[in-house]
């Protein structure tokens, strides 16, 4: 009687190593890889300059800032939230870092100051959401406007300072370690650290639990509020990192220029990478692949000298195609709106 129809239930999948590796990447991510390969092949066949190491470095540095934001956006989306204010936080911390640097002459002070401001901005988001009981989208839409205003107020709407003569900022913007630009290293470090956290620590598993089913998570004794607050603080800190990199790259603290639109880009990448807006689903690998895919796409369109209006159309079309491939591979009809 115990030998029911479900012996298959606990049978481990019998499959080869290759298959296991594939599984680890995930079917959704494989589609992204395929889309990426096709795209690279196409662009490369049209213009072989694409494969220059320098160009690959260009793509990497181009996506680094939006990449780290997409990675933390993934974490927010995993707990079922969203952060529309990441771009404004980056702008706010960009001017802060430059202004503190100009006042103190110390890059470290500027960087630390920006990180503190970022953490505070993230904490404020979390507090509004948790204790004000404001929906995460509305709360961060509100601070999206508020932080941008704040950045403009403290800087009077002007680019602040000049960091092009400071070794630390120059290193961040243009340095290399083992031949790989520092910006790319930073993206790798952030992505790997968060991937490890999500995958191997109880914090990470709890994040999935909170987003997967908040009721169950709460009953299981997970301190939901602390997780939500923690995640928003994390976003604030990483947004501050993005702001610092913005300052380093542009040589001055920019209140809005360069950081507007980062929210949509980071959400696009996370969603393309397989994050669900309902929470509980998504991976860092997927997000990073999506970031790279979008970066390659933009780079390719410029290299192929596509008119910028057509770039918009191509970008839209390829976004759709990438997801359609994903869905066809994942199979299954599905009911109603795809998630």
């Amino acid at each position: 009687m115990t030998t029911q129809t479900n012996e298959s239930a606990d049978a481990r999948p019998k499959e080869g190593r290759a298959r296991r590796v594939l599984n680890a990447i995930g079917v959704q991510n494989i589609s992204l890889v395929i889309a990426l390969i096709l795209l690279v092949a196409f662009i490369g066949s049209q213009n072989s300059n694409f494969f220059y190491t320098s160009n690959l470095a260009t793509i990497g540095t181009t996506v680094a800032i939006v990449g780290i934001l997409a990675v933390v956006q993934t974490v927010v989306m995993l707990i079922g939230g969203l952060d529309i204010s990441v771009g404004s936080q980056a702008g706010l911390t960009s001017v802060t870092s430059a202004m503190i640097f100009m006042a103190t002459g110390s890059a470290t002070a500027g960087i630390v100051g920006a990180l503190v401001v970022g953490a505070a901005a993230g904490l404020f988001n979390g507090i509004v959401i948790i204790y004000g009981r404001v929906n995460a989208v509305i709360a961060t839409l509100a601070t999206f406007a508020a932080y941008r205003g704040l950045a403009n107020v403290i800087s009077n709407g002007r680019a602040q300072g000049y960091t092009g003569t400071d070794a630390v900022f120059v290193f961040l913007a243009r340095g290399n370690v083992f031949g790989i630009p520092v910006l790319i290293w930073i993206l790798i470090l952030v992505a790997v650290a968060i991937q490890l956290m999500l995958h191997y620590t109880d914090i990470g598993r709890n994040i999935y639990a909170v987003g997967g089913n908040a009721v169950a998570a709460r009953l299981a004794g997970i301190a939901l509020n602390r997780y939500v607050l923690g995640v928003y603080v994390l976003v604030g800190v990483v947004a501050a990192l993005a702001g610092i990199l913005l300052t380093a790259r542009t040589g001055s603290g920019q209140p809005t220029s360069g950081s507007q639109g980062l929210e949509l880009q980071s959400i696009t990448a996370a969603a393309l990478g397989g994050c669900s807006l309902q929470g509980g689903r998504g991976t860092i690998v997927g997000t990073v692949l999506a970031v790279i895919l979008l970066g390659v796409l933009q780079n390719g369109l410029i290299i192929l000298n596509v008119n910028s209006f057509y770039q918009d159309i191509a970008q839209g079309a390829l976004l759709v195609i990438a997801v359609v491939i994903q869905q066809k591979r994942a199979g299954g009809g599905g009911v109603g709106l795809p998630t």
Partner: protein, 507 residues
């Protein structure tokens, strides 16, 4: 009275003393006292909406009581949160399992208490712990610790919910209708588990509408009605009819109405129907006939039903409706051809939790109730009210949100929806899940009446007494195939079970 109750608190692990709780418009609990003693199984009984789940929710601090005390080990306590209650050893296996789809079974069980190695989750140990838990609880073979939550069947979800309660050091475990989505086999394993928990000195509270189970596991029975205690009896000093009288307030002469009628023309004929996990299924359901599909959990009955109404792709065979072949590509097609399915999972498959009772009942008929797309609202309200009354749905009014109803009453809303849609063939998947005895009798009477009026009814049920009491004919399934057909007169618990598992034991 309160004072006298306090005297025996010292022998009880947990006492809910004079607890009251009102929701807007409903007094769910009115000065209820419950004592849970170590090593005892206290059965909690009562009609749908009597307040059982609410009582358990107060125990686990999911709700706060309006008044009354909670006494743990002789000390008055007040739990700040469910976490706090849990930390104090109080566990409630909820009526509706809460599962995290993207976590593994093991993680679902140990969520909040994952084994760690420093800061890292010790995955090997986690899976090993989950595996041994499953085995010790007697559910081996039913659940893969690595499977994802989203892939679990209702029964498996329930088992995860049960396993979760065992983690750590439970002192009091309350099961809220744990068997409503389990078949006899898993239920049996659960009873063994409960026996063991008692031996370990854990106080068990058990909520169920199944009389048989009560006498199988309980040592004492506490009966609630309309949020008040109507009596408490040692299990061996009471019987079915007394409990029913206490719950319903009157005698229940017959649980099962069964009038035999002449089966008419075949309404539904399956010929070698095959889909992913269903193979070569052939049988007929005639007008005026109640056919029950029996089998163990996972036998493929739900899948068969979904294939029939076009919710899952059919890969082979034919479906004849009134003698004509039908190839439904969506439930919409099937419904238009006169086939309806009341699904087994009310929360995920049937109800709009945030909408009113009325909107939920009329969901499948708003089109019919409309002219030029404008809903005839008075008529809608009448129809909804009629069906709510027919099924004794307990709600302050028809505009009440369905999420605020008790589990059993939600189930009745699902049935009301499909009764309102008068169809040629009605498929009811576990229609009495979580429904109290009184209402069950009503539902059985309604099913009987539907058949008498000439409808064909196909019921999927895992409760053997229900199978035997309802059916004109019984089709038993096993591993996606029909393993036998029994007439009402030839059927017995033994031969149904035999057909459900025979082949397996041979294999």
């Amino acid at each position: 009275m309160a004072a006298s109750q306090l005297q025996d608190t010292d022998e009880a692990v947990l006492v809910l003393d004079n607890v009251s709780k009102g929701f807007s418009g409903v007094q769910a609990l009115d000065a209820v006292t419950l004592r849970a003693r170590a090593g005892e199984v206290l059965a909690l009984m009562g009609e749908n909406g009597a307040g059982k789940s609410t009582l358990l929710k107060i125990m686990s601090a999911a709700h706060a009581a309006d008044s009354g005390r909670i006494v743990l080990d002789g000390n008055e306590v007040s739990f700040a949160s469910p976490v706090d209650a849990r930390r104090n050893g109080i566990r409630v296996v909820a009526q509706e399992p809460e599962i995290m789809g993207n976590l593994s079974v093991a993680e679902n069980v140990y969520v909040g208490a994952l084994p760690r190695n420093g800061r890292l989750v010790d995955r090997a140990r986690l899976f090993e712990m989950a595996r041994s838990d499953i085995e010790r609880a007697g559910f081996s073979g039913l659940l893969d610790p690595r499977a994802y939550g989203r892939d679990l069947s209702p029964a498996q979800r329930q088992i995860v919910e049960i396993l979760r309660a065992l983690v750590g050091k439970p002192r009091v475990i309350a099961f809220d209708e744990p068997t409503s989505s389990l078949s006899d086999h898993e239920a049996e394993a659960l009873f063994h588990l409960i026996g063991r928990l008692c031996e370990d000195g854990i106080a068990v509270i058990y909520v169920s509408h199944r009389m048989k189970e009560i006498f199988r596991v309980a040592t004492r029975v506490l009966v609630l009605r309309d949020g008040r205690v109507v009596g408490e009896r040692p299990a061996d000093e009471t019987d079915d009819s007394e409990l029913v009288r206490m719950m319903v307030g009157r005698d229940l002469s017959t649980l099962f109405h069964h009038t035999s009628h002449e089966p008419g023309r075949p309404i539904l004929s399956l010929r070698n129907l095959t889909s992913a996990d269903v193979h070569d299924v052939s049988f007929d359901v005639h007008a005026g006939e109640v056919v029950v599909l029996a089998g163990l959990v996972g036998a493929g009955r739900t899948e068969l039903a979904r294939a029939i109404i076009g919710d899952l792709p059919v890969t082979g065979g034919t479906i004849l409706v009134d003698g004509e072949e039908m190839k439904p590509t969506s439930p919409r097609d099937a419904i238009r051809a006169g086939l309806c399915l009341a699904p087994e999972e009310r929360k995920t498959q049937a109800l709009l939790m945030k909408r009113s009772v009325k909107d939920n009942i009329s969901l499948a008929i708003v089109g019919q109730l409309s002219r030029w797309h404008v809903i005839r609202r008075r008529q809608e309200r009448e129809v909804a009210a009629r069906h709510a009354r027919r099924l004794s749905v307990r709600t302050p009014n028809l505009d009440n949100e369905v999420s605020k109803l008790s589990g059993g009453n939600q189930q009745k809303v699902v049935l009301a929806r499909w009764l309102a849609r008068r169809s040629k063939l009605l498929i009811l998947d576990e229609p009495t899940r979580g429904v109290d005895v009184g209402a069950k009798a009503d539902i059985y009477a309604i099913i009987d009446q539907l058949a008498a009026e000439g409808a064909a009814v196909l019921v999927i049920s895992s409760e053997l007494p229900e199978v035997l009491g309802l059916a004109d004919r019984i089709v038993v399934m096993q591993r996606g195939r029909v393993s036998g057909e029994l007439g009402r007169d030839e059927a017995s618990e033994e031969n149904i079970l035999g057909l459900s598992i025979l082949e397996e034991e041979a294999a």
